[in-house]
Symmetry: C2
Subunit: 294 residues, 2 copies
Amino acid sequence: MGRTLTYPKLPFNTVNRHNDRATYDLSSIHSIINTTQVLHVSFNTGDSNNDNPFPAILPMIGAMGSFEYPSADINEPMDCYLHGYVSSRIMNLARAASASSPSPGVSTSTGTETGTETETTTENTKQGLPVCIAASKLDGLVLSLTPNSHSYNYRSAILHGYASLVTDPAEKLYAMRLMTDSVVAGRWAGTRVPPDGAEMASTAVLRVRVVGGSGKIRDGGVSDERKDSGDESVTGRVWTGVVPVWETFGEPVRDGDGRVGEVPGYLAEFVERRNAENRAYAVGAVRGSQEGDH
Amino acid sequence: MGRTLTYPKLPFNTVNRHNDRATYDLSSIHSIINTTQVLHVSFNTGDSNNDNPFPAILPMIGAMGSFEYPSADINEPMDCYLHGYVSSRIMNLARAASASSPSPGVSTSTGTETGTETETTTENTKQGLPVCIAASKLDGLVLSLTPNSHSYNYRSAILHGYASLVTDPAEKLYAMRLMTDSVVAGRWAGTRVPPDGAEMASTAVLRVRVVGGSGKIRDGGVSDERKDSGDESVTGRVWTGVVPVWETFGEPVRDGDGRVGEVPGYLAEFVERRNAENRAYAVGAVRGSQEGDH
């Protein structure tokens, strides 16, 4: 309470357009990341001379957490843990970047990619693969008199940081639980855990040391331009307003080999709570009741 | 009918993991792009020596189209037009890249960025800013006996291409209508159009010449591992199944200066049709009824 931590405004994360909608609050940014089921992670593959000038984007699952300070609040500094449809490419790039980056005080590893070295909190923050992480939530279609004034209600967050493979089994286990519970709160405890040795070995988790972040939030109603608002041939013909948009979780459908018939409490509550929150936010956003600026 | 165009498998767009879920069909990929309200666009800012090694990601609005062949079907080659919360950065980068890229047969422009030169179809395909465009749709949470077998039902598409500013007014108008109608089908005709001179000048549109694309689709139910399926202490305790997830469009809320009271037909139909389609797909995906592979 009363304490608001913000990300520093750096050249690569400062919002220039509509900067009245910008936020640098850790709490806002981390909350958007944590309630977004699919993150988009961008990185360079390093083969730009090989007829590939394109950065890559992967849709991934992720969540904010701190293994060193597990009780860290949402408004405190945290890492972003990632797991998902991870091609070996991003894992190999992260491993190579961790091994080869200049790291004062740590001798550069020369090809000993055995995956056994435990990374510590004293490592260089900039060791790892540079990544950009985006989370975007659409909250409404804002339909004005003319398409040029159309907009979206939305919340978006961007993080910049350095991704490394998590090698410490305790940290990996912490991250696996964090990410499972970010998909459905309480799910980890409702399943067969812990993972066995083969499962631990086959699972790759990335930890992103966040060095910058920014968010952007637009809510509220329609803004029309004076030239159209004063023209009755326009106002009498064009419908203006907002269509709220939100993510809906449907009735759970039993499948697979579990023999439990009734939907467990944690899952029923998750579906009910998330649907109510999502709908309330999108509908409330029309009146701009969520945040100050719009 | 009977004709299926596919994107070539290139080093930067070939799906390696779960390649049974991969698709290169233009039709599938373009459909995912066109029904995704927020695209994620990644590009490099070119100032990597300036303490910024990160690719950037922007959430943007976009749609597939062909100005040269407006009647092109969804399964035919198309460009991707982009518009959105466009910082001047991506526009400046695209303008600079178009001006400076090697372009056989076209003399390199030397600083005459007047915005008046009309780009033609004979331009070098590789002229422009290299971008990666991602569209991802979450269709369901797949909850198995152990978190390691958890998955998502989803559809994702990736495009690679070269972005240039659209300078021809006729093409810009085409793209503005295309993108407005991609947000709500029929909206363009229901508003005050065409844009006036000031609106045309202040609107920036990017055309991405697509050089590669890929998609990934996962549907179906839960896959449990034999070691868990045969363990009654696990199957008797863990609920398994799928939670369908889809994007819901709420009741339109009147706001702004339009004096039309009733929600117009095209908008009511759009909301109703999109909700029905989204829900039907997500619920149907549990049984894997949408596509062949899962």
